[in-house]
């Protein structure tokens, strides 16, 4: 775990750059985080829809959803999710939304 500066604030992140404390995240950080991890900017309404959905799910369930769950419940199809967050919607959206890395399956 380490700290970093972003949008004039100091936040805690894990080794992969995911936020440790989602309450440290603010909306003006999202475009900066997106640029860092290869998400096309400027962020569109659909991006924001997914980011807010990720945060709601995290605060509700304690972990961000997988891409399949996102496709079923976020109102954005899996195909669109891969266009918005190429290479890995669940991980990249979690990073940009300032929530911890989603727990995977074994």
């Amino acid at each position: 775990m380490t700290t970093r500066e972003i949008a004039n604030a100091t936040v805690e992140v894990d080794d992969d750059g995911f936020f440790v404390d989602p309450t440290q995240w603010t909306e003006d950080m999202a475009p900066l985080l997106a640029e860092e991890c290869g998400v096309p900017t400027p962020l569109t309404d659909k991006h924001w829809q997914v980011l807010h959905f990720m945060r709601d799910q995290y605060f509700d369930k304690g972990t961000g959803p997988t891409v399949r769950k996102l496709g079923k419940t976020s109102g954005v199809t899996v195909k669109e999710l891969y266009q918005l967050f190429p290479k890995g919607p669940a991980k990249l959206a979690a990073r940009c939304a300032g929530i911890p890395k989603p727990r995977g399956c074994v």
Partner: protein, 427 residues
Amino acid sequence: MTGQPKKLVVLGAGTGGTLAANRIRKRFAESEVTIDVVDRDNRHIYQPGLLFIPFGLADPDEIVRPRDRQLRRGINYHLSGIESVDIDRQRVLLDNGSTLAYDVLLVATGAVLQPEETEGLAGPGRLDDVFTFYDLEGATALAERLESFDSGRLVINVVDMPIKCPVAPIEFAFLADWYFTENGVREDVTITYVTPLDGAFTKPTSSATLSSLLDEKNIELVTEFNTGEVDGVGRKLIGYDEREIPFDLAVVIPLHGGAPYVHNSPGLGDELGFVPTDKATLQSLVKPNIFVLGDAADLPASKAGSVAHFEGEVLVANIESFLAGEPLEATFDGHANCFIETGFSKALLIDFNYETEPLPGHYPGPLGLPLLKESKLNHLGKLMFQWFYWHGLLPGRDIPGIGAAMPTAGKDTGELVSAGTNREGTQ
């Protein structure tokens, strides 16, 4: 207990439902607890056997037995699909029109294959050049196709996690290497293993071992591939990132979800149809009188028969506590173990739980089977396991030395790795 017997209803007569019903029958008299078990057919498939069918190493007849015959006396078997569960009124509506009321419900309906959720996977090309070995129909048809396959590209693809027995697709790749070598055509066949994970397997230590084995056997590994479409006519996998992987023969493990009735039962399951479950007590998070065993649960454990087996002991103790109105004290540690066939009559064995990575050493103690290492002994263990499955595991017999909790006695714990570093199954 006194008064009216308590009513236990068990949904599903697979590995988990059967062993749990049998253990509970042994523990309680019929005057204390009645047990009703429901399943939609009467064919209990020994699922580890499905891996061997495509290679002619097992016959379909050998791995199927009647479900009702695996249940002890004093258990009522209902042959019917399940329409829905009303978790507030505590009753199960069956497809045959009847209703079963319960005091305690055990959900053990496993995971179902959902090929229709991937574009093209249930369409043209299915059972021609696109197969799965995760059901009996697919495994049997694939046996015939493999017999005549003597050159070209074999692609093995896991669409997404979670899947049952996460090592089985890798075992399939290893056995295919052996099979084509035996048939003298290995040089004319390329084998490619395509996974959505960032390595060969979910757990870092075993992933490294399995990766080097894939390499040794000249099996190409493609990682972080998220299958968007299976084109059975153009014969290629198409990723969401537009990467394409051509094949002459594809063996695809479809998406998995919970049983269909879960979606018809308000409040019972999550988006994928799995039931939210306490990972230690196996009590559901939806109602205190609903427990969950095996693949039907949303636990962060492998969806595998060994997990259902190790859960059984904990589950029965907690159902007993629940019926007595006492706190649930038994806890499950996520213990799983798997034999991994590597071809040429050898196998690896891995043993792990929620917290501990698969370690080298021996199982279940210092004189046991070698862990994380290829050996003929493990292969024999895997073959002998079928006998134990029907005669020990399903009837609910305990075996000395093989307990629910993960053993550490024979392991090299110096290499202890925290499960906190697990590879992620999400994208």
